[in-house]
C-alpha cells in the first residue's frame, strides 16, 4: 500500500490519535498528573489494540479486546469526572467531547450508542455537580450537541449500511456471489435459455459432514469450471454452480471431474426447468431439513 493510498485508509489517523494520546500521557506523567495520565494511557492502549493486524489476532477477538479496553477507558473518564481537580483545566476536560467519536469509530452501532448515551447522562450529572454558571451551560450544550450530532450521523450511516447489506451481491467473507444473486442469475439464464433454445444445469456442492467450506477447497472447485459457469455461496456448507448450456451428459461428466478434483465433496446435479425457479433455491431450509431426515 502506497503512502497516498494509506492516507485514504484509517491507518494514519488511527496512528496519529494513538501518538497524541501517548504524548499527552507522557506529559501528564512528567507533570505528576498521574490520575489524568490514566485516561490518555487507556486511549493509547485502545488505539493500539484497534490497530493490531489481523495476522496477529482474529478480527472477532480484536473487537472483543477493543470492547474491554473501551470499557476501561469509559470507567477512567467517569472516575476523572468525579474528581474536582479535573475541572481546573478545560483543555483536558474537552477530551470528553470526543467520546462519541471514539465509540462510534471503534464499536458497532448499537454497542456504541449504549456507551455514548450512558456516558452523556452520567457526565451530565457529574458536570452539574462540579461546574456552575454559563461555563456549565456551555460544556453541557457542547457535550449534548456532540452526542446528538454523532449519534444521528452514525444512525443515518448505519441505516444506509443496512440497506446496502440487503443489496449485496457477494458474500463478504468468501467474495463469491451470494444466494440473492444466484436467484437473479437463474431467472436471467432461464429467459436466455428459452430465447437461445439451450438448457440450464445447477450443481450443488456439499462438504462431507456438513463442515464449512475452506478457501482452499473453494479455490480448487472454482478452477474446475469455465468463466461463464459461476460459483455461488449458498450457505457455509453448500456452494452452487450455474451451468448454462449444460446437458444431462455434460452434467454427469462435470460431476465425475469434480469428484476427481475434490474427492470428499458431495455433488448433486440437475437440469433446471425453464419456466419456474428450482424449489431448492426458493425453499433451501425445507430441502436441508428433508436431507437431514433422510
Amino acid at each position: 500500500m502506497g503512502l497516498a493510498e494509506s492516507i485514504r485508509t484509517s491507518t494514519w489517523c488511527q496512528f496519529m490519535a494513538g501518538c497524541f494520546f501517548a504524548l499527552l500521557a507522557g506529559w501528564c506523567v512528567y507533570a505528576d498528573k498521574h490520575t489524568l495520565s490514566l485516561i490518555y494511557l487507556s486511549g493509547t492502549l485502545l488505539f493500539l489494540v484497534a490497530s493490531l493486524p489481523t495476522s496477529l489476532i482474529k478480527p472477532a477477538h480484536r473487537y472483543r479486546l477493543t470492547l474491554w479496553v473501551f470499557c476501561v477507558y469509559t470507567l477512567v473518564s467517569l472516575a476523572l469526572l468525579l474528581t474536582p481537580e479535573h475541572y481546573t483545566s478545560l483543555t483536558f476536560l474537552s477530551l470528553h467531547l470526543a467520546f462519541p467519536f471514539i465509540a462510534f469509530g471503534l464499536l458497532t452501532f448499537h454497542t456504541a450508542l449504549f456507551f455514548v448515551l450512558g456516558f452523556a447522562l452520567l457526565a451530565n450529572l457529574l458536570v452539574m455537580l462540579h461546574l456552575e454558571g454559563s461555563l456549565r451551560l456551555t460544556f453541557l450544550a457542547a457535550i449534548w450537541l456532540m452526542t446528538l450530532l454523532t449519534s444521528i450521523h452514525s444512525f443515518t450511516h448505519h441505516l444506509r449500511q443496512q440497506n446496502l447489506k440487503e443489496l449485496l451481491s457477494r458474500d463478504p467473507v468468501t467474495g463469491l456471489f451470494n444466494r440473492k444473486q444466484l436467484i437473479n442469475d437463474v431467472k436471467k439464464e432461464q429467459q436466455r435459455a428459452q430465447r437461445e433454445a439451450t438448457s440450464l444445469g445447477l450443481l450443488k456442492l456439499t462438504t462431507p459432514n456438513n463442515e464449512p467450506w475452506t478457501n482452499k477447497q473453494i479455490q480448487d472447485v472454482s478452477q474446475a469450471f469455465a468463466p461463464f459457469e459461476r460459483l455461488y455461496y449458498f450457505s457455509s456448507q453448500r456452494l452452487a454452480v450455474l451451468l448454462p448450456l449444460a446437458t444431462d451428459t455434460q452434467l454427469d461428466k462435470r460431476t465425475q471431474e469434480l469428484i476427481e478434483v475434490c474427492p470428499d465433496i458431495r455433488v448433486d446435479g440437475s437440469l433446471c426447468a425453464l419456466d419456474a425457479l428450482p424449489a431448492s433455491l426458493v425453499y433451501p431450509d425445507a430441502e436441508q431439513a428433508r436431507e437431514g431426515e433422510g
Binding site: 485514504r8 485508509t9 484509517s10 489517523c13 488511527q14 496519529m16 490519535a17 497524541f20 494520546f21 504524548l23 499527552l24 506529559w27 478545560l90 483543555t91 483536558f92 476536560l93 474537552s94 477530551l95 467531547l97 470526543a98 467519536f101 471514539i102 462510534f104 469509530g105 454558571g133 454559563s134 461555563l135 456551555t138 460544556f139 457542547a142 450537541l145 456532540m146 450530532l149 454523532t150 444521528i152 450521523h153 452514525s154 443515518t156 450511516h157 441505516l159 444506509r160 449500511q161 440497506n163 446496502l164 447489506k165 443489496l167 449485496l168 451481491s169 457477494r170 463478504p172 429467459q191 436466455r192 430465447r195 437461445e196 469455465a226 468463466p227 461463464f228 459461476r230 448454462p244 448450456l245
Partner: protein, 334 residues
C-alpha cells in the same frame, strides 16, 4: 436510497446551523443585558447568517461536494473564535469552545477540507488568542486540539470506508442503480468465454452522455445525477430481455448484448438513440449523445475487448491522442 440518506443528512445539518444560530442569538442577548456592548457585534451579525443557512439547508440541497453553506458557517465560527472580544467573565476559558471546532468541521465538510480549516483555526488561535499563555500551555492546547482533530478524522474516515466497502460489494452504481465496472469486468470475462465456446456473437453499445460534466459543473451534482438517472432508466427499458446495462464511467453507460450480431446492435442503437433524444431532458439544451456499437472479433480475448472499449469512447479521444503524441515525441529522442 441515496436520496433518502442525503435528505436525512441535510435536515440534521440544517438543525445544527439553527442550533448554532440560536446559540449566537442567546449570546448576543446575554451580552446586551450584561452591557458589554463592544462584544455584541459578532454574535448579532452571525445569528441571522447561521439561521439563514439553517433555513436554506432545510429547504434545498447543496449542488457541490464542498457545501458553500458549511464553508460559510465554519468561516463565521472561526471568525467568531478569533475576533470575539474577551470581555465576558464566563468566557475567560473561551478557547474551550475552539476545541469543538474540528469535531464540527469533520461533520460538515469532506475530510481534506475539514483538516485544512481546522489546522488554519489552530494556527489562528495560537497566533492571535493564546499568545499570552506560556509555551507549555500553548503546546498542551495544540496537542489536545490535534488529538480531537485526529479522533474526528478517524471517526469520519472509518464510517465512510465501511459504507464505501459495502457500496462496492453490492456491484451497483449508487447513482443509476445499474451494475458497476467491477461487475462488468467479471461479466465480460464470462460472456467472452461463453461466446467463444458457443460460437455465438457478442455485441456492446457504448452510450456517452457528453453534457454530463457540463451539467455537473454548471448546475451541480444533484442535477447531473438526475440527468444520468433518467438516461439510464430509459436505456434499461429500451434494451431487450437478457441484455445487461452497466455504468462504465462518469458519463458512459454500456449495454452488453449477448447473442447479438452487429446488425442487431445497430437496430437497437437507432431505437435507443431516438428514445433518448425524445424523452431525456437536459437543462443545458438538446441532448448531445453518441452511441457506439462494438462486436467481439474472432480470436479476441476479454482484455483486448476491454481495451477496445476504452479506446472507443469519444470523450477520452483527446487524452488518447495527446498520450500518443507524447509517446511519439519521446520515441525519436530515445
Amino acid at each position: 436510497m441515496n436520496q433518502v440518506f442525503s435528505h436525512q443528512q441535510r435536515r440534521v445539518t440544517a438543525g445544527l446551523y439553527l442550533i448554532l444560530g440560536s446559540g449566537m442569538g442567546l449570546l448576543a442577548t446575554q451580552v446586551y443585558l450584561a452591557g458589554y456592548y463592544e462584544a455584541i457585534l459578532l454574535p448579532a451579525l452571525l445569528t441571522p447568517i447561521l439561521l439563514g443557512l439553517g433555513l436554506l439547508r432545510w429547504q434545498l440541497d447543496s449542488r457541490f461536494r464542498h457545501d458553500p453553506a458549511a464553508i460559510t458557517a465554519l468561516i463565521s465560527l472561526g471568525v467568531f473564535l478569533l475576533l470575539q472580544p474577551n470581555t465576558l467573565s464566563s468566557f475567560s476559558h473561551w478557547h474551550f469552545v475552539g476545541l469543538i471546532y474540528p469535531l464540527l468541521a469533520f461533520y460538515l465538510l469532506p475530510n481534506g477540507a475539514s483538516l485544512a480549516v481546522s489546522l488554519l483555526l489552530l494556527a489562528g488561535l495560537l497566533g492571535l488568542r493564546l499568545k499570552n499563555l506560556s509555551l507549555e500551555s500553548q503546546l498542551i492546547f495544540a496537542f489536545e486540539y490535534l488529538l480531537l482533530l485526529s479522533l474526528a478524522w478517524f471517526y469520519e474516515l472509518n464510517i465512510n470506508l465501511k459504507t464505501l466497502k459495502l457500496e462496492k460489494m453490492t456491484g451497483q452504481d449508487q447513482v443509476t442503480g445499474l451494475l458497476n465496472v467491477e461487475h462488468l469486468q467479471s461479466r465480460l470475462l464470462a460472456e467472452v468465454a461463453r461466446s467463444r465456446s458457443t460460437q455465438r456473437p457478442l455485441a456492446l453499445l457504448l452510450i456517452e452522455l457528453h453534457q454530463y460534466p457540463q451539467v455537473k459543473e454548471e448546475l451541480g451534482s444533484t442535477s447531473a445525477d438526475r440527468f444520468l438517472r433518467e438516461a439510464s432508466e430509459l436505456t434499461l427499458h429500451t434494451c431487450r430481455t437478457g441484455d445487461e446495462a452497466y455504468r462504465l464511467d462518469d458519463l458512459t453507460l454500456l449495454l452488453l448484448l449477448p447473442n447479438t450480431t452487429i446488425n442487431g446492435a445497430l437496430v437497437l442503437r437507432e431505437r435507443l438513440y431516438h428514445h433518448l433524444l425524445q424523452e431525456v431532458i437536459c437543462d443545458l439544451g438538446p441532448l448531445d449523445t453518441s452511441i457506439t456499437p462494438l462486436v467481439l472479433q474472432p480470436g479476441e480475448n476479454w482484455q483486448q475487448l476491454w481495451q477496445r472499449i476504452g479506446n472507443s469512447c469519444y470523450h477520452t479521444l483527446s487524452e488518447r491522442v495527446s498520450d500518443q503524441l507524447d509517446s511519439e515525441e519521446a520515441s525519436p529522442q530515445r
